[in-house]
Structure formats: C-alpha cells, structure tokens
C-alpha cells in the first residue's frame, strides 16, 4: 500500500470516527433528549406533533456522515497526491539515473519545505557523484594519453638500438623481449583510451548502411585463419541477408573480437559456428564455440574490463582482457544488446541483437 493510500485512508477513518462521535453527541442532544422531554410532556397530556423535526435531524445527521467521509476520501487523496508528488518525482529520477546523466539536476518546487530540501540534498549528492565520475574519466584519459609519449620513446629507442647492431645474441633477445612488452602495454593503453572516450561519449561512430551478412562472411574467414593453428574449425550456419545502419569498422571489430574469443577459449579439434538471423526489426548474430565453457558464477562478469575468468586458465590465453568490454560498447553504441550464455563443458554462445535498417 502506498503512503498516499495509507494516509488518505487514515485521514478518512479519523474523520469517520470524529463524525460518528459528533453524530452520536448530536443525536443524543437533539433526538434522545427532546424525546424524553416529549414523553414527559406526553404524559402531561400534550400532542405528539413535535416528534417530526427530531426524525429529520436524525436522518440528516446520519446521512451527512457518508458524503462527508466520501468527500474526505477524495479530497485527502488529492491533497496527498500533491504532497507526495515531489517524492514520486524523486523516485522516478533516481530510478532513471546512471553514470551518464548524473549532471542533470531535478527541478525544485522552491517552497522550502521538507521535500524541497530533500530534492536539494539529492541534487547535491548526484552532483558530487557526477564530478567523481568525471574526475575518474578525466584521470584515465590523461593517464592513458600521458603514457603514450614515454611508450613511443621507449619503443623508438629500443628499435634504434636493434638497428644499430653491435648486440650479442643474448642482448638482442632481451631487447626484443622488451619490445614485445612495450607493444603489449601500448595495446592496453590504446584499448583503455578507447573505452574511456567511449564512456565519456567522445567517440564518433559512422552511420552508413552496412551489410551484416557480408561482414559475417569476412569474420568467418578471419575465424578460420585464427582457428587453424589451434586446430579449431569455423563454419557458417544460417546467414540471412541483413542491412543495418552503423560503423563498418567497429562492427568488423566486434565480430572479430567475438570470433577471437571463440577461438581462444576453445579446445583442439573444437568448433566455432557463426549464424545470422533476421527476426522482425532485429538482426541476431550468434557465435558459438566448444570448449570448457564459462562457470555460471563468472558469467555476469565477463564484460567487465580486465576480467579474465579462471585465473589458472588466464595465463594460457593472451589478450588484455578488454575485448569484451569493447564489444559491449560497440553493441550498445549501435542500440543493440549482447549476451553470453554457456553450459560448462558444452557450448558457449555470444548473441548480439542489432536493430536493422528500415
């Protein structure tokens, strides 16, 4: 039961009790007393004519209680509606609030009452949250940008060192290993920059007609070449012709990311299957793979940045742990949804739904 209903009913029942008490008192004063008086007077030989007005009073007292309570119910309901409206607005606003719209404050009534004060406090709190999120984004952006210069210098100097020669085989090996690590770091910084910018809404995506089926066929060729060294075969199942509006390069990256995962988390002799269905206004891409599967308890975390699943297993799988976070961003930037379902030891399926072009 809402506060509004509870308060209204409570008010109405209070009113009912009050009216009943008043009615009872009035009844006693206006009906019972005069009757007793009349009876006394009757005994004294007077006529009964005077009892008619007391009946009228009786009726009017009891009949007025019902409309009065009904009025109290309706009026109370309306008053309560107005009173709790700011609370309802606050609730709705809090419900729709996420890290991207924290900056928009709620409108205040300006009446200075408790609820207006609550709105003010709420706004102040979200403003603080907003600036905390903004600071975090700024920090990551600056950090990833600042890291690029030293990485460029390190890479360049190592390269010059290699080119100049004069290194023994062992020294060369060391420098090359350093280069590998610098490149790995550069990739992480790149992905991190992309995710941070995407989060801040700073990445502009193309919006052209893209044949999803063609991209899927291309992804199949990529999955085949990625799978070959690992003994994983890739096949194309259903492939409807679908055109969507979007960023061709990012969509290719999305499919490649998913295929890459499907190959990496597979087993020798395993399979990767790609499907594309068109159902109503939606295109559904499904990429499934065999392998050990993802335990149900870690399934909700697979899209988190730097999540690598099973720690003992993660050593064997390369990558920086940002691929699925990027995939999720690409999907949501296209107005779609992505889900991963897995049966341990069975099939793991990544499903992507994207709105088709009309």
């Amino acid at each position: 039961m809402t506060i509004r209903t509870r308060l209204t009913l409570w008010n109405a029942s209070m009113l009912l009790v009050a009216l009943l008490a008043t009615g009872a008192l009035a009844y006693h004063e206006l009906v019972t007393e005069p009757r007793a008086h009349n009876q006394g007077a009757q005994a004294a030989g007077k006529s009964q004519k005077d009892s008619a007005p007391t009946d009228l009073v009786e009726i009017s007292i009891f009949c007025s209680i019902v409309p009065a309570v009904a009025l109290a119910l309706a009026g109370g309901w309306w008053v309560m509606l107005r009173t709790v409206a700011p609370v309802t607005a606050l609730t709705q606003a809090a419900e729709h609030m996420n890290e991207h719209n924290l900056g928009a404050p709620l409108a205040r009534t300006g009446s200075g009452d408790e609820l207006d004060r609550l709105t003010e406090v709420f706004n102040a709190m979200t403003a603080r949250l907003n600036s905390a999120f903004a600071r975090l984004r700024e920090f990551t952006l600056h950090a990833s940008h600042e890291l690029k210069t030293p990485l460029t210098v390190m890479h360049g100097e190592l390269e010059n060192w290699l080119r100049d020669g004069g290194l023994t085989g062992e020294q060369r090996e060391r420098v090359e290993s350093q280069l590998d690590e610098v490149q790995r770091l550069a990739k992480i910084v790149d992905s991190l920059t992309l995710l941070t910018k995407a989060d801040a809404g700073q990445v502009v995506l193309g919006r052209e007609a893209v044949r999803l089926d063609e991209l899927l066929r291309e992804a199949l060729a990529d999955a085949e070449s990625l799978g070959r060294p690992a003994g994983v075969t890739a096949t194309l199942g259903v492939c409807h012709q679908v055109t969507i509006l979007g960023d061709r390069h990012r969509l290719r990256q999305l499919l490649l990311n998913l295929c890459d995962n499907a190959v990496k988390h597979n087993e020798p002799g395993g399979k990767v299957t790609l499907d594309l269905h068109r159902a109503g206004g939606c295109a559904e891409v499904r990429i499934s793979n065999t392998g050990r599967g993802i335990p149900p308890e870690v399934l909700p975390k697979v899209f988190d940045p730097f999540f690598r699943g099973d720690v003992s297993h993660s050593q064997a799988v390369e990558g920086c742990g940002l691929g699925l976070s990027i995939a999720r961003w690409i999907v949501s930037a296209h107005g779609g949804t992505i889900q991963i379902a897995s049966q341990p030891g069975g099939l793991t399926t990544a499903s992507v739904w994207l709105p088709v072009a009309v």
Binding site: T149, T152, V153, H155, H249
Partner: protein, 222 residues
Amino acid sequence: MLLVEDEKKTAAFVRKALQAEGFAVDVCHNGEEAWAAALTTPFDAIVLDIMLPGRDGLSLLRQLRQHRIATPVLLLSARGEVNERVDGLNAGADDYLPKPFVLAELVARVRALGRRGGESKPAVLQVADLRLDTLTRRAERRGVFIELTAREYRLLEFLMRSAGHICGRMAILEKVWDYSFDPGSNLVDVNVMRLREKIDADFDPKLLHTVRGLGYVIKEPS
C-alpha cells in the same frame, strides 16, 4: 625532409632512424618554426605532430595547403582517434600514424610518401624465385603454382611491393584488412604464418622473415 615534433626525445630518435635511412632531416619543435621553415625550404616530405605548443599541427597543415604547398605530410598523433585521422586526411595530410608507433613503420611510411605518384606499379612482382602476377592474381615459386585465399593474396602483394623493407603490423592491418586501428587480435600473425607455410615451407632459401617486435619482411636471400 622536415620533422615537426615538440617532444625532444621522440624527435631525436625519429631523426636518427630517418638519417640512418639516408634522409636529410631538419627538426622543428613548434608550429611557428615549422611554418617559417616550410615557407623557405622545399622539403620532400614533412612528418608533423598534431599536438604542438602554439600553433597545432592540423592548423599548420591547413595553412600549408592554403598556400599551395603540396609537400606530402605524415601526421603523428598521441590521441589516436578515428575521427582525428579523418580530420587529418581532410585537412590535406597524406598519411596518419597514431602514437605509440613502431619506428620501422614510420620510416616505411615516409619512404612511401616520397614515392607517392612517382614510379608506376609493376604488374609482376618478383623476389628471388617467387613470382606474383597482379593481373592474373597468380603466385608461383620455382614454377609451382601456390593457391592463396583473397586475404593471403593481398598480404603477399603488400609484402612483395615493400620487398626488402619491414612491414609493421599496423601497416599490414591498414593495407590488407582495411583497419585504421588495431582491432586487438593476432590476425596478422596467423595469416603471415599461413602464408609462410605456403611460400617457404617446401622451398629454400626462406624469403618471408619475422622481425621480432617490428613486423615482417620479404627479402632476397643475402
């Protein structure tokens, strides 16, 4: 050629690498200096960092193009946004390389800038006994036909056109896969491995080599 880069260390090692390739390199550390230098000297190519103190690289580039200075320009940027790449090319740049870059990659691109529009592309490419006919799309080694997928063909053509020079992963992704950013996968490596199996496994000497940390190269046996 002219190198415009405000970060001293970066400027130093890029200059060193370009000089090692036989380029004469002038270095400017800010936009004003670069503008003055570009007006007075006809350079063969300009390597231009976008983020510069004072006048930034993009506005300098626009000004150059407005003054009908058509020197090929390679933009460098630490921001590495796809839109920035598009902006740069629209402003009149000939190429764009995000930081951090592989130095060998930068050198290869500068070399390509100098070549641009110059020599015509031969239809038949040959490295040692490996032949690639770009009209019939036929590859053969010592007369033996080698079957290639469409992707492997493009990869081989790109490597053979740059024969003798290291091709970085980024350049391969760009020319062969048409990605302007690293999509985060070892796609290039597995395809090069596969190509190597096809062109080198049954033959000697080996032509396709990995240059660890830098990329791949097809070259005549020395």
